[in-house]
């Protein structure tokens, strides 16, 4: 297997991981709405995942850049920019005092990310197959 195939194999697994993180986020948010969890615990739990998630996605994007996968990089760049902006503005973490007011925004954001990771999962899978076929 060549470099490209390995890269996409890795990214397929990575995007599956990110996908599950987002599912976890959404489940937690709906738990909050149903009052199964209090906002303080929710924020403490989710905030542990915020930076790893962004960093992992960032790492993946940089990897595409280094490997010269321009199209894949461009697809991922907006989300990377979004994450960087949030980190700079210091509003990437969930705030327990404001969570109920911003819950709908957070949910929407998580759903969009979920969709993005889902699409990229299949896209990477496709690219993986294409790369494998091209090698043979």
């Amino acid at each position: 297997m060549g470099l490209e195939a390995w890269l996409y194999l890795f990214s397929v697994l990575a995007s599956a991981g990110l996908l599950f993180t987002m599912v976890f986020f959404i489940i937690m948010f709906s738990d909050l709405e149903c009052d199964y969890i209090n906002p303080i615990d929710l924020c403490n739990k989710l905030n542990n995942f915020v930076l790893p998630e962004a960093a992992f996605h960032g790492f993946l994007t940089i990897l595409f850049l280094i490997c010269g996968q321009w199209l894949t990089f461009i697809i991922n760049a907006p989300l990377l920019g979004f994450n960087i902006r949030k980190t700079i503005n210091n509003n990437n973490f969930y705030d327990a005092t404001e969570i109920f007011r911003t819950l709908s925004v957070h949910k929407k954001e998580s759903f969009l990310k979920l969709a993005f990771y889902l699409i990229s999962f299949f896209f990477y899978l496709y690219k993986l197959i294409v790369a494998l076929i091209a090698e043979e």
Binding site: D35, N38, P39, I40, T97
Partner: protein
Amino acid sequence: MSNNLPPGWSAHIDPSTGQEYYVNSLTQQSQWELPTVQNTQKQRRHLTHQQAQKYYSSQPADVPQQPTQLFTPGIGQQQPMQAQQPIQNLTNDFQQFSLSHPQQQRQSANSINLIGQVPDPNALENDPPMISLPPNATFSQSPTANAHHSFKRSTLNVIPTTQSLLNKFKIPLSLVITPYRSVSSTEEQIPVISDSVISRCRRCRTYINPYVTFLEGGTRWKCSICNLSNEVPQMFDWDPITNQPADRFKRAELNHSVVEFVAPSEYMVRPPQPPVYAFLIDVSYTSVQSGMVATVARTILETLDRIPNEDGRTKVCLIAVDHALHFFNLPPGSTDPNMLVVGDLDDPFLPTPNDLLVNLSEARGAIENLLTNLSDMFQTASGPESAMGTALKAAVQLISPFGGKIMVMTGQLPNVGQGALKNREDLKILGTPKESTLLQAAGGGFYKNLAIDCSRSQISVDMFLFGHPYQDVATLQCLPKYTSGQTYFYPGFNASRTEDALKLAHELSTVLSSPIALEAVMRVRATRGVRMSEYHGNFFVRSTDLLAMPTVPIDQSYCCEITIEENLNVPFVVFQTAVLHTTCYGERRIRVITLSLPTSSNPSEIYASADEQAIATLLANKAVERSQSAKLEDARDAVVNKLVDILGQYKSIMTSGGGASAQLMIPENLKNLPLLMLGLLKNVGIRQSSHIPSDLRAYAQCLLTTLPTQSLIPYLYPTLYSLHNMPMEAGTINEQGLVMPPKLNLTIEKFERHGLYLIEDGQHIFLWIGRDAVPQLVLDVFNLPSLQDLRPGKMTLPVLENPMSERLNAIVNKVRESRRGPYRPHLYLVREDGDPSLRSWALSLLVEDRFEMGLSYTQWLSTLRDKINTGSYN
């Protein structure tokens, strides 16, 4: 005809016309129309309201002002009602018999044109529009079956049946709740139900209230909120004291909308906690020098007897803070406090496991001794550092097993240890879009996280801030905000001025001695289809509909926005607020406040029911929140746009005039809304200006979000009295209490050069003296020979033995006492030809005039009208 008059009324013949008129001996009111039961009902409410306000407003009974009526859309619908009048008169008797609410004819909106009208300041504190429930809403005829507006009021007293209808009006639907407003001894006390028979709906957990219906011969009741049929508890008709059957319809919870249940042990997570007070006193150099420490210590010492401690369980602790934490070991029985110093600011620990948090009664001697000597102890030793952040952490650690109240007194920015803050004030960015960053919390989330920890351990924090020149009120107020405390700010405090010391002593001792409700949670329930969507105020939202309040302070108000999720097919909607709390004498109680409002799909009725004061309270809250999350300018724009939307929609729905119009139409009951909004835009918290220090702004914003409506309205539109030419009876006492001079419009046009005026907004009182004041007036009031001897600034009004001085003192005292809450406003003397900064401060309160970039009232109205004309409201 005069035989069947309601009680209190008598008929008289007018000698000039020979016509019969009616006088009510209770309210001193006279009228030409035959008084009916409807009127007396109204009267009774009016009477309780008068009692409630006896000490702050003695304005003459409202004379109904006939507005210039231009177009009345509802008039067409009124006609058939009048045709039914005789039948209605007949049925009136039956209605009484069937225990129903007599009022059923609803108001329709009267349009008036605002342009060219002079606002009436006396109308600002009018009662909200009557709530006219359908006749069968409640079986109880009690006048207290619906909550008084000082406890709970709604922006609309008629609820639209659908959300799309509500959206059309653009009037935000919201409740303004003051669950713990102070009840003076002259008012009717809140009934307490102590027999622990608490009947609640099985499904929605609503408490039984005057709006339920009894089914199956009274063995079941139907919930007024979810319509579920519930069993009536066995002991419901039983009087446990006399051990005899009792009349269920005499039970307080079926007659009063505001009641308190004594809760049995199922409502407790742990045994009722004792009241705990932790005092964190900053003893850094500036605070000791300003006399803050001495004043605070003396005030606490003098208030020790009034701190709620009926059962001797109250616990206190005291930590003095400078560059280190000074704990005090107060062994019971001893009189010698023992000081323990902790210098480790990164990881504070408690120097000894016991005797730091002590029982007030047992360790009284040591506490008294400590408070007496506190100021002297730190007279020389301290520097300019304050480790207040660390001290807060230590205090939370100390009292977290119990919960309670932390009272922080600091005159120094916390600048060492955890949560250290920097001076962020930057004069260059005041008045620019960046200004709002100064109003947001700094400190890297330390104070917000601490607030969350506090809320978890049932601790609330009160901040008494004295810092000069910079205290970072915006950051420190985070703690009170999320722990339902309160922030108090005394800029430039100096105890050598008696006025400063008096104000602090009064406010601190009032806060300390007021009965507090501990470990409380508040929940608002409403009829199915109505959902609480957003909450504003000082608390932590623990779940979608549960507000956590470690302590419930007296006279703090909360807003709760409402959305209508399903079409409402019911004739009326019930809103029930329940506050589960522990009283300071160890009883678990539930305070239940029920408000019932009719529904309608008739726009005219809905407009006629809008409550301008509640709308102003909500919009003030929202404007402050907006200014903290976005820019101050956005907050102001949001207020303007909201008002334009409301008026524009009114124009398009209710008036026939399409296209541009020279008039500005508004429902009569909202006629002061533009004035109040102008006041809000000119308030220190929101106003466009590059001269307002961010501390003052942040503090004004705290007030805007916490003051109950009664105090907020004058804070938005201050009261102006003319004193040199007040009527003879003003300042004297008659049977209704002290007579106040008439209120004047807030404009410089009302000022005469030889006059003496009083402007007050509940937080400050300004005594304005004109440049040509007669020496006799100066002598009578201030005991000084001429105007030139008067020194502008904070002052105490001398009590002299002449009628003018006595009346003036009476008026000033009444102004101070009139409003609920602990505040004791400063009295400032302003000379028209004196100190320009003080003069311009006083002028900034004249809402109807142009000030800096603020518009005058007439300009404001025409701006509104132009915006409506150019908008798409036709």
